[in-house]
C-alpha cells in the first residue's frame, strides 16, 4: 500500500505541519521523507515563478516517490510525497487543506509561519486525507 506524506513548510524552510497517510497506529520514523521534502523545496522555488497556479503538480521525483506541491499566496508550501499518480485527488486535497489553512491563518492566536498545533486542523486534515488517499 502506497503511503502519502503531507507537509506544510514555512518560509524559513521550517516544517509547520506533518502527517502521513494512511494513518497507521505505528508511525514509522522515516527521516528520509523529510529529507526528500526538504530537498524538493529547491525545485519548488524554481517552479513557483513559472506558473500562475498555486498547484504546481508533480515537481520532483526521488526514486519511486513523487512530490507534488502547492504554494499559498504567503509562500507557505504544501508538499505531498506520494507513489501513486492521481492528480485530481491530490489537487482537491490541496485545495481543501488550503481552505483549512486560511481558516487557521485567520485565527488571531495563530502566528504566521509558526507550527500548526491546532487539533481541530489536524482532525480535519485527517478526514480529508482519508477521503482522498
Amino acid at each position: 500500500m502506497s503511503t502519502f506524506t503531507f507537509l506544510i513548510i514555512g518560509k524559513n524552510d521550517n516544517p509547520l505541519y506533518e502527517i502521513e497517510f494512511p494513518i497507521t497506529v505505528q508511525k514509522k520514523e522515516t527521516y528520509v521523507h523529510q529529507y526528500i521534502a526538504h530537498g524538493s523545496l529547491d525545485i519548488v522555488e524554481e517552479h513557483v515563478w513559472k506558473s500562475n497556479n498555486m498547484y504546481l503538480k508533480i515537481i520532483d521525483k526521488f526514486n519511486k516517490i513523487q512530490i507534488s506541491s502547492f504554494v499559498t499566496a504567503g509562500h507557505i508550501k504544501f508538499m505531498l510525497l506520494h507513489e501513486k499518480k492521481d492528480e485530481d485527488a491530490i489537487k482537491n486535497f490541496f485545495v481543501e487543506v488550503h481552505d483549512l489553512y486560511l481558516k487557521i491563518l485567520l485565527n488571531p492566536f495563530y502566528e504566521y509561519n509558526k507550527p500548526i498545533t491546532s487539533t481541530a486542523f489536524d482532525a480535519k486534515v485527517r478526514k480529508i486525507g482519508t477521503r482522498y488517499f
Binding site: 524552510d13 522515516t30 527521516y31 526528500i36 526538504h38 529547491d42 525545485i43 524554481e46
Partner: protein, 1288 residues
C-alpha cells in the same frame, strides 16, 4: 640512504620536492586520460624462483624484483613500433611489471577496500573551516573560498579505474613479455629456467593467452657473495636460450635494493637500464608486430565461417539449435576474443581509430540481452576511443552503464559512471552528472565507500547548477554520503558530511532530520575525539524531548556505550544530563540553617560588618559622586572554616522520559592553597612556588574514595546515589568539607551516569552584566559570581546559640525571664567578644538585675555580652522578654564572636538562632492630659484602661500599680483622696473600662527647678495596699521603658523623614486625609518655623507605667505610656493647641499615634480675684474690682515677650457673638512685659461693673511674639466668673 643522514637543509629541499611531486601527481589525477592510461597499460610478467625473492627480501625493505623494475619505467620512454604498414612512435610508453600472484582472482571487495584506504590521508574533518551553509546566498561564497572541497575524489577515481580490472572482459592485463629470473644460488639455474616456462602457467590457459608470441627474457641474478662462476652460467644460458635474451644481473646484497636503486644520473651505467631498454625497444615491438599480424590473420580466416554461424544463430529456430549454439559460442569466443585482443593492442598503441573499428566489430558480436557484460565492455571501449579522439561518447557510456548493471557488474558500471561523469563535468552538465552519480550510488550491491564518494560528488555537482544552486538537494545528498561513509566506517568523512549539512537543517525544527543528524554527529564527534561537540549534540538531541522513550533509551544506551569506549579513564567531562536549575542553587555555610527570610539576616550581618569595621565604604560627597562607580565595593568571596561543612542545595531535573540513575553524585571543586603573603621588602631566599591547583574532576571510584578519606585531597565530599524518575525534579543537598586553608571553588556536580560513565555537570551561575567601561559595553561581560568561591581559613571556634524557656505566647506588656544558652562547640579554641543583635531589639533585655544588665543605647547597636567561652564551655545568659507589639513574631538572634586566637582572614563569626512567639492583646490604656484651671503649675491626667477582649475567652486583668516617671513631676490620685477605693474598680474583666484621674504636680512641691537634671522622680501608686510594690526604676521595667521610648523616637524620626520627603515632593494631599487637623497644623508649624528650638524641649511630660497581673498563671506585665505631654492649651487657636479633652490612645495594639503635641507657646495665664463681691450700687455707681492676671512661662529656656491688652466692651472678641459685655476695664489696660523662663508674673488689672450679675472676665487679649517674629493674639476662653451682688 636513511633520512637521518640527510642534513636538515637538504631535507627541506627533499621534502619540498616531494611536495611538488605530489602536487604534480594530483594534477595528473585530474585528467581522466591519465587514469585511463594507467588502467590500460601493457603488463610484463615477472616469474622468479623462490631464492630470487629471498635475496631481495633479505637485502631490505621487503622489495621484490618487479618493484625494482618498475622504477626504470617511470621516466618517459620512447618506443617505436611497426605494425603492418603503419609505424607508431609512442613517446610515453609504460609497462606494468606483474607477477603470477597478480593474476590470481582477487576478491573484489578487498580491492575496493584498498582503493578506499588509499585516500585516507587526504580525508579532512570539514570542507572549509568555520563555514556554515544556511541559505542559497551562502553557496557562491562557499565556492569562492573552497574551490576544491573534495580533493580526494580524483585520486580515488584514478585508483578505482586503475585497479578495477575485469579479466574476463578485457585483455589489457595479458602479458606482452615475460621475464624469467633465477638466482645463481639455485642448484640448477638453467634447468630451472627451462622448466619455468616449459609449460605456460595455468593462468594463460584460463584467460586464453597465446604464449607462443610472447617474448621471454632470461635472467640470472648473481649475488656478490655467491661462489659459483657467474660468467660460466651466463654462457650456458646463452647457449641454451638465445644470447640476446639472456642476462646476468649482479647484485650487491649489502646495499639497499641490492644496489639497484634507480638513480637518474647513474642510470646509463646501471646494467638494469640496458636490460629494460632492451625489452622495451626490441622485444615488445616485435611482439606487437607478430601478435597483431597473427591475430588479424586468424580473424580473417575465421570470418566467413563465423558470419555464417551468426546468421544461422539469428535466423534459425532457437530451441533446436541450442546445443549447436553452445558449441559455436565456445568456438566463437576465441574469435571474438581475438578481435578484442587486437582492439586492445591497438588501444595500447594509442591507435584509437583502428581500435575503434575493431571494438565496433567486436560489439556487433554481442547483443545486450544475451551477454550484456561483453556488450557493455565493448561499448565502454568504443566510448573511450571516441573520447580519445574527441568524438561523441556519452551515448556509448550510457549503453555500457545500463548493460553493466544488467549483467550485475556493478563496479564496472561505477567505473563507467566515473568516466562519464568526467565528460559531463567538462561539459558543465551538472544536473545530469548529479543524477547519474546518485543513481549509481543507490545501486544495491555497490561498495559503500564508492557509493559515498558518488553521493558526495552528486551533492557538490548540485551546488554548481545554474541558474540557482539546488543547495537543499545537495545537502541531502551529502547526508546520504555521510550515511554511506559511516557504512564504510570512514568516520572522518562521515563527520564532515554530517556537519556540513547540519547547518542547513539547524534550528528549523525538522524533528526527524534533527534526530538523525544529531545522533550521527554525536557518534562521529565522539569517534573523532571532539567530545565537547558530541556533548553539545547530545544536548541538542535531548533538548526537545520529543522522541519516544524507547528511542531515548537507545540514545542513552548508545551514548553510554560510545563514551565508555572512546573516553580516557571513563571520564567524559561535561555530561548532557541531568539538567540543573542554576537559579535555585543555594549555599550554606555551617553557621546557618537554611532560612527563607535571608534579607533579615543579611541586614543584621551587614550591621555587624560595619561594627567590626570589616568594610570601609568611603563617604562620598560633591564631585566624587559622579564617579562613585569606582568606589563600589567588589563582592568578596565567602569565608569558610577548615573542617566545617559547606552545603550546597541544588535542584536537578531529569529532562527525559526514561528514569535515570546517577551514582555517587558529589560536588566537584578546585582547591588552591593560598600563596603566603609576600613581603616586598624582603627578598625571598627561594622563589615561591605557585601553589598547585587540585581538583576532584575525575571519577570518584573506590580508589578515589579511599584516597579522599585518607585525607590526601584538600577537601572531602559526600557522594549520594540518585534515581530520577522521568521528568522528575529533586532538590538535593550536597556537602563539601575543606581540610586545608586555601581557596576552594565549587564547580559543579560529579557523577557516574547509570553506573557506566563518569562526568560532571558544571554550575553556571550568572551575575549581573557589567556595563561600566566601553569594553564591557561592547562585549558581553558578566561580573564573576563568587557565591561558590570560598576562602578556607584556619580553624575557628564555633558557637551555637539557643533560647531556653522562651514562652510561646505573651500578653502585651508581659514580662518573662528566660535564658540564652551559648555553647562553644570547638574543643580547641575559646571565643570572646560576644555580641548579640536581634531582629526585635526592644523585646529582650539581657541581664538578671540592674547591675549586670547589658543594654543598648541605640536601636541599631548590638548588645555586648560580657562572657568568655573557653573550649567546650556552655554559658547561660539570663534575659527578660516583654511582649512589645501584638502579633506573631519571629525573633532572630545573631550572635557575633571572635576567636581568642585571632584570625586575620575571618575576624569574627556569627551564629544564628531564632524562635517564634505570639503577643496577644492584654489591656489598653488611653490618657488625657489637661491644664489645671486652678493652679498654674498643675495639670490633670486622666487614664482610661480597658480590657478589649469581648467574649468569654479573655482573661481578667488587675491593675496592681501605677507609676509615673518624670524629671520634674509627680502624680497624685485625684479620683480619691487618701485610700484606694474598692479594688473592684481596678479589676478589668473582659470588655470593662475604668477611668482613673490624677493631678500632675511639680515633684518638689514648689514649681520646677531646672538644676535637678539627672534625678528622676518616681511616684508609685499601688492599688493593693498590702502587697509589695514593683520598683519602676529598676531592671528590667525601666530598661524596657527606655527601649520603648527609643522605638517611638525612631518611628517619629521615620515619620518626620517621610513627611519631609513627601512634602518636598510637592503636595501632601494624601496625607491631609489621614492625619487629623490639629496634627497637620502642628506639623505645618514645625515646618514653617525655621527654628525648632521651641518644640519638644519642654519639661512637661511624664511616663506612666501600669502594672497588671493576670489571673491566668499569675502572669504579670507592665504597660508603658511614655511621654505623656501636658501643655498649656489655647483653645481659640488650633495651631497652638490640641483639641480639648481628646484621649490619646497610647497602648492600643493597632496604630499608635506617635506624633506628640509639642509645646508651641509655653504660656499659661490665670485670672485671680474674689469671686463674690457685694457692692452697693446705689452708694457707688461703679464697682471696681482689682484683678490679678497671673502669667507663667512654662519654658525652661525661652523668654516670652508679650503684651497684654484689655478689650473695650464693644469690641467683639468673637465674630459669632454679637452681644456686648457689661463691664469695662480701668486703670492700666496695657502691659508690655517679658517673661523669663519659668517666671510667674502677676499683673494688676481693674475691672468696673455698673450693675450686679455674673460676669465672665475674659475680655483681654495677649499678644505673644513667637520666636519667628510672628505675633499671635490669644483671647481667653476660660470662664472666670465674678458674681457681683447688689447689697440691696
Amino acid at each position: 640512504m636513511t633520512q637521518a643522514q640527510i642534513p636538515s637543509s637538504q631535507h627541506n629541499v627533499v621534502s619540498q620536492q616531494a611536495q611538488q611531486a605530489q602536487q604534480l601527481q594530483m594534477m595528473l589525477y585530474k585528467d581522466i586520460k591519465y587514469s585511463v592510461n594507467s588502467w590500460i597499460t601493457p603488463s610484463v610478467l615477472v616469474i622468479s624462483s623462490p631464492s630470487v625473492s629471498k635475496i631481495f627480501q633479505r637485502s631490505g625493505n621487503n622489495t621484490s624484483l618487479e618493484q625494482i623494475f618498475s622504477q626504470y619505467v617511470l621516466e618517459k620512454k620512447k618506443v617505436s613500433i611497426k605494425v603492418n604498414d603503419s609505424s607508431y612512435e609512442l613517446n610515453d610508453f609504460k609497462v606494468n611489471f606483474v607477477t603470477l600472484k597478480d593474476y590470481e582472482q582477487q576478491i573484489q571487495s578487498q580491492i575496493l577496500k584498498d582503493t578506499a584506504s588509499s585516500i585516507d590521508s587526504l580525508a579532512t574533518d570539514e570542507y572549509h573551516p568555520n563555514f556554515k551553509l544556511r541559505t542559497k546566498q551562502d553557496v557562491p561564497y562557499f565556492q569562492k573560498i573552497c574551490q576544491e572541497p573534495t580533493p580526494w575524489f580524483e585520486k580515488y577515481r584514478h585508483q578505482f579505474i586503475k585497479s578495477l580490472h575485469n579479466l574476463d572482459l578485457e585483455t589489457f592485463t595479458h602479458p606482452i613479455a615475460v621475464i624469467l629470473a633465477v638466482s645463481s644460488e639455485d642448484s640448477n639455474p638453467i634447468g630451472m629456467l627451462v622448466k619455468m616456462f616449459e609449460k605456460p602457467p595455468p593462468i594463460f590457459q584460463q584467460l586464453g593467452i597465446e604464449a607462443t608470441n610472447i617474448p621471454k627474457v632470461y635472467m640470472l641474478i648473481h649475488p656478490d657473495n655467491a661462489h659459483t662462476e657467474s660468467e660460466k652460467r651466463l654462457n650456458e644460458m646463452k647457449t641454451t636460450f638465445s644470447s640476446s635474451t639472456s642476462y646476468l644481473l649482479r647484485v650487491n646484497t649489502k646495499e639497499d635494493l641490492c644496489g639497484l636503486a634507480f638513480d637518474h644520473s647513474t642510470a646509463h651505467l646501471n646494467p638494469l637500464t640496458n636490460i629494460i631498454n632492451g625489452i622495451l625497444s626490441k622485444d615488445i615491438p616485435t611482439f606487437f608486430e607478430k601478435e597483431i599480424g597473427g591475430l588479424n590473420d586468424s580473424i580473417a580466416t575465421n570470418k566467413k565461417s563465423f558470419f555464417s554461424k551468426v546468421k544461422a544463430f539469428r535466423f534459425g529456430g532457437k530451441k533446436t539449435e541450442e546445443p549447436i549454439e553452445a558449441e559455436n559460442s565456445k568456438n566463437s569466443v576465441s574469435v571474438e576474443q581475438s578481435i578484442r585482443k587486437v582492439a586492445d593492442l591497438y588501444f595500447l598503441l594509442q591507435d584509437y581509430e583502428n581500435a575503434l573499428s575493431n571494438y565496433k566489430t567486436y560489439a556487433k558480436e554481442f547483443n545486450s540481452d544475451k551477454s550484456p557484460g561483453f556488450y557493455a565492455a565493448a561499448n565502454e571501449m568504443i566510448g573511450l576511443c571516441n573520447y580519445m579522439i574527441n568524438k561523441e561518447c556519452e551515448s556509448y557510456f550510457e549503453i555500457a552503464y545500463n548493460n553493466y548493471i544488467k549483467s550485475g557488474l556493478i563496479h564496472c558500471g561505477a567505473r563507467v559512471t566515473l568516466i562519464h561523469g568526467y565528460v559531463m563535468k567538462k561539459k558543465s552538465n551538472y544536473k545530469a552528472l548529479s543524477d547519474l552519480f546518485k543513481t549509481t550510488a543507490e545501486l544495491r550491491d555497490i561498495d559503500p565507500f564508492c557509493s559515498a564518494i558518488l553521493w558526495e560528488q552528486a551533492g557538490f555537482a548540485l551546488l554548481q547548477t545554474t541558474p540557482s544552486p539546488l543547495f537543499r538537494k545537495a545537502t541531502m545528498r551529502i547526508v546520504m554520503a555521510g550515511d554511506k561513509y559511516s557504512e564504510a566506517s570512514k568516520r572522518k568523512h562521515a563527520l564532515r558530511c554530517y556537519s556540513f549539512s547540519y547547518s542547513v537543517y539547524e534550528s528549523r525544527d525538522w524533528n526527524l532530520i534533527d534526530d538523525h543528524l544529531h545522533l550521527s554527529l554525536v557518534r562521529y564527534s565522539f569517534f573523532q575525539g571532539h567530545t565537547s561537540d558530541a556533548i553539545l549534540f547530545v544536548n541538542k538531541l535531548l533538548e526537545k524531548n520529543c522522541q519516544s522513550f524507547q528511542k531515548q533509551n537507545s540514545i542513552i544506551r548508545e551514548f553510554l556505550y560510545i563514551s565508555k569506549t572512546y573516553t580516557k579513564d571513563n571520564y567524559i567531562g561535561e555530561l548532557p544530563i541531568p539538567s540543573i536549575n542554576n537559579e535555585t542553587i543555594s549555599v550554606h555555610l555551617n553557621d546557618y540553617s537554611p532560612d527563607g527570610s535571608q534579607s533579615v539576616w543579611q541586614e543584621m550581618e551587614e550591621a555587624f560588618k560595619k561594627e567590626a569595621q570589616v568594610t570601609s565604604k568611603p563617604q562620598l560627597q560633591g564631585f566624587d559622586l559622579w564617579k562613585r562607580d569606582l568606589y563600589f565595593e567588589a563582592e568578596k568571596e565567602r569565608t569558610a572554616v577548615v573542617e566545617e561543612q559547606i552545603t550546597v542545595e541544588v535542584e536537578i531535573k531529569n529532562p527525559l522520559q526514561i528514569p535515570l540513575q546517577f551514582n555517587r553524585v558529589h560536588l566537584v571543586a578546585t582547591f588552591k592553597e593560598q600563596k603566603p603573603p609576600v613581603d616586598p621588602s624582603i627578598q625571598p631566599p627561594l622563589p615561591i612556588l605557585e601553589p598547585q591547583e587540585e581538583s576532584n574532576m575525575s571519577p570518584l571510584d573506590d580508589n578515589a574514595m579511599t584516597k579522599m578519606n585518607n585525607g590526601s585531597l584538600p577537601f572531602k565530599v559526600e557522594p549520594i546515589d540518585i534515581l530520577l524518575l522521568p521528568s522528575e525534579t529533586k532538590k538535593i543537598v550536597f556537602s563539601i568539607q575543606p581540610m586545608k586553608p586555601g581557596n576552594l571553588i565549587v564547580k559543579g556536580l560529579g557523577l557516574c551516569m547509570c553506573g557506566a560513565i563518569w562526568g560532571k555537570r558544571e554550575f553556571k551561575l550568572k551575575n549581573k552584566r557589567l556595563n561600566k567601561t566601553r569594553q564591557q559595553r561592547e562585549s558581553i561581560v558578566y561580573e564573576p559570581n563568587l557565591s561558590l568561591t570560598f576562602r578556607v581559613t584556619c580553624p575557628m571556634p564555633r558557637l551555637e546559640a539557643q533560647f531556653v524557656d522562651f514562652p510561646e505566647s505573651l500578653y502585651h506588656g508581659e514580662l518573662r525571664q528566660l535564658k540564652l544558652v551559648l555553647k562553644n562547640c570547638s574543643n580547641k579554641m575559646g571565643l570572646k567578644n560576644v555580641r548579640v543583635r536581634l531582629s526585635h531589639p526592644t523585646a529582650i533585655c539581657f541581664g538578671s538585675n540592674s547591675e549586670d544588665a547589658s543594654c543598648i543605647k541605640k536601636l541599631d547597636s548590638s548588645v555586648f555580652l560580657d562572657v568568655a567561652l573557653p573550649p567546650n564551655a556552655t554559658v547561660n545568659v539570663p534575659c527578660w522578654v516583654r511582649g512589645m507589639t501584638v502579633g506573631r513574631h519571629t525573633l532572630r538572634c545573631l550572635v557575633y564572636y571572635e576567636s581568642e586566637a585571632g584570625n586575620t582572614d575571618l575576624k569574627y563569626r556569627l551564629a544564628r538562632c531564632q524562635t517564634q512567639f505570639d503577643v496577644r492583646p492584654s489591656i489598653r490604656i488611653s490618657s488625657l492630659s489637661q491644664q489645671s484651671s486652678t493652679n498654674l503649675n498643675a495639670y490633670l491626667l486622666g487614664v482610661e484602661v480597658d480590657n478589649p477582649i469581648i467574649g468569654g475567652a479573655g482573661d481578667s486583668f488587675h491593675i496592681k500599680q501605677i507609676s509615673s516617671i518624670s524629671k520634674h513631676w509627680k502624680i497624685q490620685p485625684l479620683s480619691y483622696s487618701t485610700d484606694v477605693p474598692t479594688p473592684s474598680i481596678v479589676s478589668l474583666n473582659p470588655g470593662k473600662f475604668t477611668n482613673l484621674f490624677f493631678r500632675i504636680v511639680p515633684s518638689n512641691g514648689e514649681g520646677i527647678v531646672q538644676s535637678k537634671d539627672d534625678e528622676i522622680s518616681i511616684t508609685n501608686i499601688s492599688f493593693y495596699k498590702n502587697e509589695p510594690m514593683y520598683d519602676s526604676s529598676s531592671f528590667p521595667t525601666y530598661h524596657f521603658l527606655e527601649y520603648e521610648k527609643l522605638t517611638i523616637d525612631q518611628l517619629q524620626q521615620q515619620q518626620q523623614q517621610q513627611l519631609n520627603s513627601s512634602s518636598g515632593g510637592g503636595g501632601s494631599s494624601g496625607m491631609i486625609q489621614s492625619t487629623s487637623n490639629s496634627q497637620l497644623n502642628l506639623m505645618a508649624n514645625t515646618r514653617d518655623g525655621g527654628d525648632n528650638s521651641l518644640n519638644d524641649n519642654h519639661p512637661n511630660h511624664i511616663d506612666l507605667l501600669i502594672y497588671w497581673e493576670c489571673d491566668n498563671n499569675n502572669r504579670m506585665g507592665v504597660l508603658n505610656s511614655s511621654n505623656i505631654s501636658f501643655l498649656p492649651t489655647h483653645y481659640n487657636d488650633p495651631s497652638l493647641a490640641i483639641p480639648w479633652g481628646s484621649w490619646k490612645n497610647t497602648t492600643s495594639p493597632s496604630g499608635k499615634s506617635i506624633l506628640y503635641p509639642s509645646l508651641k507657646l509655653p504660656l499659661r495665664y490665670q485670672i485671680k480675684s474674689e469671686l463674690l463681691i457685694k457692692h452697693d450700687f446705689e452708694k457707688e455707681r461703679l464697682c471696681t474690682v482689682p484683678l490679678k492676671l497671673q502669667l507663667s512661662n512654662c519654658s525652661f529656656i525661652h523668654p516670652l515677650t508679650l503684651s497684654v491688652d484689655t478689650l473695650l466692651p464693644h469690641e467683639n472678641i468673637d465674630q459669632t457673638t454679637f452681644s456686648t459685655c457689661q463691664y469695662f476695664w480701668t486703670g492700666i489696660t496695657k502691659y508690655n512685659i517679658e517673661l523669663k523662663p519659668q517666671e510667674i508674673m502677676d499683673l494688676d488689672l481693674h475691672v468696673c461693673f455698673a450693675q450686679s450679675g455674673v460676669f465672665n472676665i475674659n475680655r483681654f487679649k495677649i499678644n505673644v511674639k513667637l520666636a519667628n517674629e510672628i505675633h499671635k493674639e490669644i483671647f481667653s476662653t476660660i470662664q472666670h466668673l465674678i458674681n457681683i451682688e447688689s447689697n440691696n
